[in-house]
Assembly symmetry: C2
Homo-oligomer: 293 residues x 2
């Protein structure tokens, strides 16, 4: 799902837009969906004074070159998205990465507001992290924050080709898949596993505990390396609420010795965080243009 918004200077969404990406019709259709959505938002009365446009897309992104390098879901490859959007809108355009844009939004407008160092961790099909330092998100040539692919010591293979990867045991997709494999009763999704656990299903409890243990391992590692003041959990799995945060915070606490102890909280901005972050990138693009021009 593509999500868009008209964002004012204070970070308030004055108008919003939701669209299916149309990626099932091929990468060109997905690109056209993005460009059409941007054009439609530009025509909204709330966007009459729009000064810049921001886009946040999944996969591998080259922000400096303005290119969407690769996305498995959208099946596009090396799309000059910034240039295309600038041609369509006549506005300066900033291009960013969806997870990092989400992290930017949660750090400026959401749950990590006011903290110098934060990690924002969306958990859904995969697990990623936006590492926020002094209000900026680490880029690492577009490759930083791959929390889902650190080895937490189990033996399962991961789709990336490695083994022991955190997301092979603790992503929403992995939780659903592992429950199905263990019980022979494939659930509708991770939310279904959570529901069964709440109803006393022993296998659901086991799968959940294994996921939470692995997450505690992964987050403890991140705490040693990065010393975040706060960890913000988002994505589909965060809908489990306290069933996720309470045991995870407790097990993280057990694993830490002298390290800085972060708060573990739920994301505040929901599934529009990425598009709010794209709007913040647009404002940064405008400010840097105003400064240099």
């Amino acid at each position: 799902m593509l999500k868009g918004a008209v964002l004012d200077r204070a970070g308030h969404a004055c108008a919003t837009l939701d669209r299916e990406t149309g990626a099932e019709h091929g990468p060109q259709a997905a690109v056209e969906t993005v460009l059409a959505a941007v054009a439609e938002l530009c025509r909204h009365p709330a966007a009459a004074d729009a000064v810049a446009c921001g886009l946040a897309v999944p996969g591998i992104v080259d922000p400096a070159a303005g290119r969407a390098v690769w996305s498995e879901n959208l099946r596009w490859r090396d799309v000059p998205l910034r240039k295309l959007a600038e041609e369509r809108t006549g506005l300066p355009v900033a291009l960013g990465h969806d997870v990092r844009a989400t992290g930017l939004a949660e750090s400026r407008l959401g749950a990590a507001r006011g903290h110098d160092q934060a990690m924002v961790v969306p958990i859904g099909t995969g697990i990623a992290a936006a590492i926020v330092v002094d209000g900026h998100v680490l880029d690492g040539a577009g490759m930083a924050g791959e929390l889902g692919h650190i080895d937490v010591g189990h033996q399962d293979r991961c789709a990336c080709g490695g083994s022991g990867c955190l997301e092979a045991i603790a992503s929403a997709a992995a939780i659903a898949r592992r429950y199905g494999a263990r019980t022979g009763a494939p659930p509708a999704g991770a939310a279904d596993v959570v529901q069964r656990m709440r109803s006393g299903d022993v296998a659901a409890r086991e799968i959940w505990d294994e996921a939470v243990d692995a997450l505690a391992h992964g987050l403890a590692t991140a705490c040693s390396l990065l010393a975040p003041a706060i960890i913000v959990l988002g994505g589909g799995l965060a809908r489990a609420g306290a069933d996720l945060t309470d045991p995870l915070a407790a097990r993280l606490e057990q694993r830490l010795t002298f390290q800085r102890r972060p708060r573990v909280v739920l994301a505040e901005l929901g599934d529009r965080a990425g598009c709010l972050g794209a709007g913040l990138l647009a404002w940064s693009r405008y400010d840097s243009g105003a400064a240099s021009g």
Copy 2:
């Protein structure tokens, strides 16, 4: 050992000084050694035009407050070192952390020169990392970079109170200790274990391989999270040279799938890197003062 230097604008050490810390006579003696060394360097002819002073110390440091909060080795606690050094020298003083100062020096003057993202990893009694992003070293409230305390999946206890810590199996101290425990023949140090390995000692080879495997695990984790372009190995263990870098780079390569692949190299600045980094902090302190004043 305390190391000092007079550093010119280009990062060249015009004069140097080495002193025993005197920490065995208590924390006050260590503080006095630092202050006397700074005063002596200031009297050196090469320092006639000195404009600022930088100090890099181990343990926990609060750079903003200018306080050396705690050091196990020097046994000091909450020393207002910046203020004391300013009183002694009459110069503006910058206070930093030894590992992070080492990272700063290697990134500006040494092996990581020219790379946007780097990790500088001294391996000695412990294992730490300076995480360099765009020429700055992550601080994390003084707690970032604790690479030695990430869980790499062994069962040994660590002095920190945790288990599975990288430095409990792969620090120079751990390598010597584990060789002694396995063979009943305590070595003089990790260099001795390396020498025995080169002479065909099977136990030494095993201990070394276990350490390198654990280091590859830890560095692969850091690559997933931080995507450094280069990893610089320093400290006593780096004296093993290609016996360290070659197998480590190969095993790291095996562990990485899609992640950014860093070069793995030896540090260039040797055991004076920390004091060169302190000098760079001094220049930054001078520049920020000149800018604001």
